[in-house]
């Protein structure tokens, strides 16, 4: 034992304590590039993020951003339909894609030696997608099945879709990412290609490469692949219809015979991180942790699960990243025998008391410690670090904003938290939903 320990000690000197190394640059055609170095394993994650998502769809075409994401796995002139994923998996890699309201992203995880091929194939499908009518019709059936699985078969998901629609009167965030069923059914090849030509271009994309790679190598490979694609002048900054002031509280109830456990969700419109102006979003992030973070010592958990048994579960959710206005959500799952009305009334009592009494300093200190530590734990997954950059750069932020974020979080004060809470948690501007059991007729 002693011997082994000594041997390792001498080696340890050779491994300096690692700091997250992030480099960025922009290609001549406007494509932004972020490189995150991590040589612990000979692996690389290659991602391309497009600044386009479900909130950029034309009215009546809901679901086209996500449908196109599926169709991007069909073919180009040089890569036949289905061959993209086949090639990746033949190399032992994995690939996938995801769509949100503000972005669409494609990624592959491969041994770092295969990075050139990934960049070649991903840049190829940026402008050379070929779709047959048959591909489109079959894939539309798959997307409809996806909607049936994820949304129509899950009362919680249907409820969430209805709440989202109720939250936004005017902004397209009110539309489901996957699309309304009746609109997905009408989406066709022309719609998909039109959306593709308008939004898929190097000047609307961000390349993120994370893992065992150097910035120089990425630059050389990127110039040779993505760098050859001309920028698309049709790409313009995104300006979407914005929300009017909310002057009336909104309520909805969804009943479904498939509900096993009813619950209540309260949400409020909330500001998000803005370039050079992240302090309000940071305060709201800390507020979410204080109110609902660690179950047993959060404000809601303590009041509704510990001091009294009103709820079996409480949670708070705030999405700090969104191009436009986001939301601050609170969930209460009532204990057996407690009605949703009662649970909601108790939630309001707790929120009112918090707004009067303010932040508990010990809670606040603990949360700051955990946020600091989460920066250390986060380094264990370079893929997650890459994902944070991709998400920030497609929701209107800059590299500098993302680099600063941990410090901005640490500079939040209890006063800033209370100011943010008083601004956002206003009952007259709330959307409240009840998910109920309903006995089938």
């Amino acid at each position: 034992m002693r011997l082994i320990a000594l041997c390792l000690l001498s080696l340890a000197v050779a491994f300096p304590v690692r700091a997250e190394k992030v480099t960025d640059f922009t290609l001549d055609n406007g494509m932004q590039v972020v490189v995150i170095e991590d040589a612990r394993a000979p692996v690389v994650v290659h991602m391309v993020w497009y600044r386009v998502g479900a909130a950029d769809e034309a009215p009546g075409k809901s679901g086209i951003a996500h449908f196109l994401e599926h169709l991007m796995f069909k073919g180009t002139d040089t890569v036949p339909s289905g061959a993209f994923s086949q090639t990746v998996s033949d190399l032992g890699g994995m690939d996938n894609a995801f769509t949100s309201w503000d972005y669409t992203a494609y990624f592959q995880r491969v041994a770092s030696e295969h990075l050139p091929l990934m960049m070649q194939m991903e840049s190829d499908r940026m402008t050379n997608l070929r779709l047959t009518e048959e591909d489109v019709v079959t894939e539309r059936a798959v997307v409809l099945e996806e909607r049936t699985s994820r949304t129509d078969s899950d009362p919680g998901a249907l409820f969430s879709e209805q709440r989202q629609a109720a939250q936004y009167l005017n902004h397209p965030y009110g539309r489901p990412i996957i699309g309304w069923r009746h609109e997905i059914e009408q989406l066709n090849r022309t719609d998909a290609l039109a959306f593709y030509k308008l939004h898929y271009a190097p000047n609307n994309a961000i390349l993120v490469v994370a893992g065992d790679v150097t910035p120089d190598r990425v630059r050389a490979l990127a110039e040779d692949t993505y760098g050859k694609i001309p920028e698309n002048p049709a790409v313009v900054p995104r300006v979407r219809p914005s929300e009017p002031p909310q002057i009336s509280e909104r309520r909805l109830t969804y009943g479904d015979p498939r509900v096993g456990q009813p619950y209540v969700v309260r949400s409020y419109l909330a500001p998000t991180r803005k370039p050079g102006d992240q302090s309000r979003a940071a305060a709201l992030s800390v507020l979410a942790e204080l109110l609902g973070g660690s179950g047993s010592n959060s404000v809601l958990g303590r009041a509704l699960q510990f001091d009294r048994q009103i709820a079996v579960h409480t949670a708070v959710w705030y999405q700090a990243n969104a191009l436009d206005q986001g939301s601050f959500d609170l969930v209460v799952v009532p204990s057996e025998g407690v009605s949703l009305d009662q649970a909601e009334a108790e939630l309001d009592v707790v929120l009112d008391r918090f707004l009067t009494e303010g932040v508990d300093q010990a809670d606040f200190d603990r949360i700051m410690t955990m946020l600091r530590a989460s920066e250390i734990y986060a380094q264990d997954s370079t893929q997650s670090v890459g994902r944070r950059f991709g998400e920030s750069l497609t929701t209107g932020l800059t590299i500098t904003d993302q680099r600063d974020w941990a410090n901005v979080l640490q500079s939040v004060t209890p006063d800033a938290v209370m100011e943010a809470a008083r601004d956002v948690l206003v009952r007259g501007r709330a959307v409240t939903g009840h998910l109920e059991k309903e006995i089938a007729q």
Partner: protein, 438 residues
């Protein structure tokens, strides 16, 4: 030990010509306290990921006490010593340590991450949670309420209903046949004594496996593990013994409202100890893996658009082995989907794989294996899993050779033995059109 630096230097030169090798230097420690620990020392980031697995899990529950191990596991972080649940959480959070406790059919798992700067304090807390949890009445009632809430939700969840029904049919009266979280009746009836007994029975030294990865020396880790486990009982509840798989060909329909049906299907499988296990594993991956190129995915999703996803694979458990798959499809296409699955099952059993499929699956499996070893957390989980499965410490270095050694004949032979279309049983939860239970 030393070779890590050397191997990396060599790999730089050879990298374009050779496949990536799993070069993670795993060591096996025998601690003074008699524990065996697999570890990788990696000082790059100042924290340690620690994984414990206690063999047994929810399958240790007697039928009348179903759900005891699950509820016990959920209560481990709800107070110990002079700390109540909130005091424990506050102490843990002040150290920014993370503890996760989970119960599954065959094991109770403990996953911890703690910072180098306060490692000893974090260990004191973790030890307290594992060795001397309070199980006080208030916490018991609160967490029981959470478990019951989950069970009520499961009663209306078609996926959960299908899994339960499938287990019931497959395993009957064996512990594997009962729901691992228990039922509303059994969980309601559990007493503090039942929970304390489940704790003594499940968390014992005769069944624990340990792996750790991160910023810690072997000597420090040995002391840490010995301290953590020393006061646990030497032996626990005997394992339940082998389960007979009672699945026979047929269809069981559980009516459920909604536009879609959930299908769970399968029959008996093959144990890890079988000489043909790797051949069967390759066949199953090419047939039912999650990739678009897998046969089921290609036939059911890509060509026909019948589903968003379908998969099937080997499920080797401690006391039984299954081949099991699942999918969801519109009620109107359940019959067609079942037909396609049966045809593909028969085709695999009769013809095995093609040469191209075998080659592609091998390169996928051997290429993807080293990619999994990235990060302290993922490596610790892999290492403890390998111990649970009974593999030696040099397995990560040898595993790809075992895959590469499989021939087309091996696959054909084992596919005919393992994939048995006549035994294929479907559980369908939904309102399928034109499908009757049989």
């Amino acid at each position: 030990m030393i070779p890590r630096m050397i191997a990396r230097a060599a790999a730089l030169v050879l990298t374009m010509a050779l496949p990536v090798l799993a070069e993670t230097p795993v060591q096996e420690l025998k601690t003074p306290g008699g524990n065996t620990v697999w570890m990788v020392q990696s000082p790059d980031i100042p924290f340690v990921a620690l994984e414990l697995r206690f063999r047994g899990g929810t399958a240790l529950d007697a039928p009348a006490k179903a759900g005891a191990v699950n509820l016990m596991t959920a209560l481990l972080e709800e107070g110990s010593g002079d700390l109540d649940a909130q005091g424990f959480a506050a102490a843990r959070d002040a150290l920014a340590a993370e503890f996760r406790f989970g119960a599954s059919l065959d094991s109770v798992s403990v996953s911890a991450r703690f910072l180098t700067e306060n490692r000893d304090q974090a260990l004191v807390l973790l030890r307290q949670a594992i060795v001397s949890p309070n199980f006080d009445a208030t916490s018991l009632e609160r967490v029981r309420g959470q478990v019951l809430s989950g069970l009520r939700a499961d009663e209306r969840d078609p996926g959960a209903i299908a899994d339960r029904k499938f287990d019931q049919i497959a395993f009957g009266d064996h512990a594997y046949g009962q729901p691992s979280d228990g039922t509303i009746a059994t969980v309601t009836a559990l007493t503090r004594d039942d929970i304390a007994a489940a704790h003594l029975g499940a968390l014992a030294r005769d069944r624990v496996h340990v792996a750790a990865v991160g910023d810690i020396s072997p000597a420090d880790l040995a002391t840490l593990v010995d301290t953590l486990l020393a006061d646990l009982p030497a032996t626990g509840t005997p394992l339940p013994g082998p389960a007979k798989v009672a699945l026979t060909g047929g269809v069981t329909v559980e009516p459920f409202p909604g536009p879609q049906s959930v299908l769970v299907f399968g029959h008996e499988g093959i144990p890890r100890t079988d000489p043909d296990f790797f051949a069967a594993f390759i066949a199953a991956e090419a047939f039912g893996g999650g990739r678009f190129s897998a046969r089921l995915m290609s036939e059911v999703r890509e060509k026909r658009g019948l589903t968003y996803g379908i998969s099937a694979g080997l499920l080797p458990l401690d006391q039984a082995d299954l081949v099991v798959g699942q999918m969801s499809t519109a009620n109107g296409t359940v019959a067609q989907s079942m037909q396609v699955i049966r045809e593909e099952w028969t085709k695999l059993a009769t013809d095995g794989l093609t040469e191209a499929e075998l080659a592609a699956t091998k390169t996928y499996l051997t290429g993807s294996y080293p990619l999994r070893f990235d990060g302290n957390g993922p490596i610790a989980r892999i290492l403890v899993g390998l111990q649970m499965q009974g593999y030696p410490v040099d397995y990560p270095a040898k595993r790809n050779a075992l895959i590469d050694a499989v021939t087309l004949d091996d696959v054909r032979r084992v596919a005919a033995r393992v994939f048995r279309p006549d035994d294929l049983h479907f559980v369908v939860v939904g309102t399928p059109e034109g499908v009757q239970g049989q």
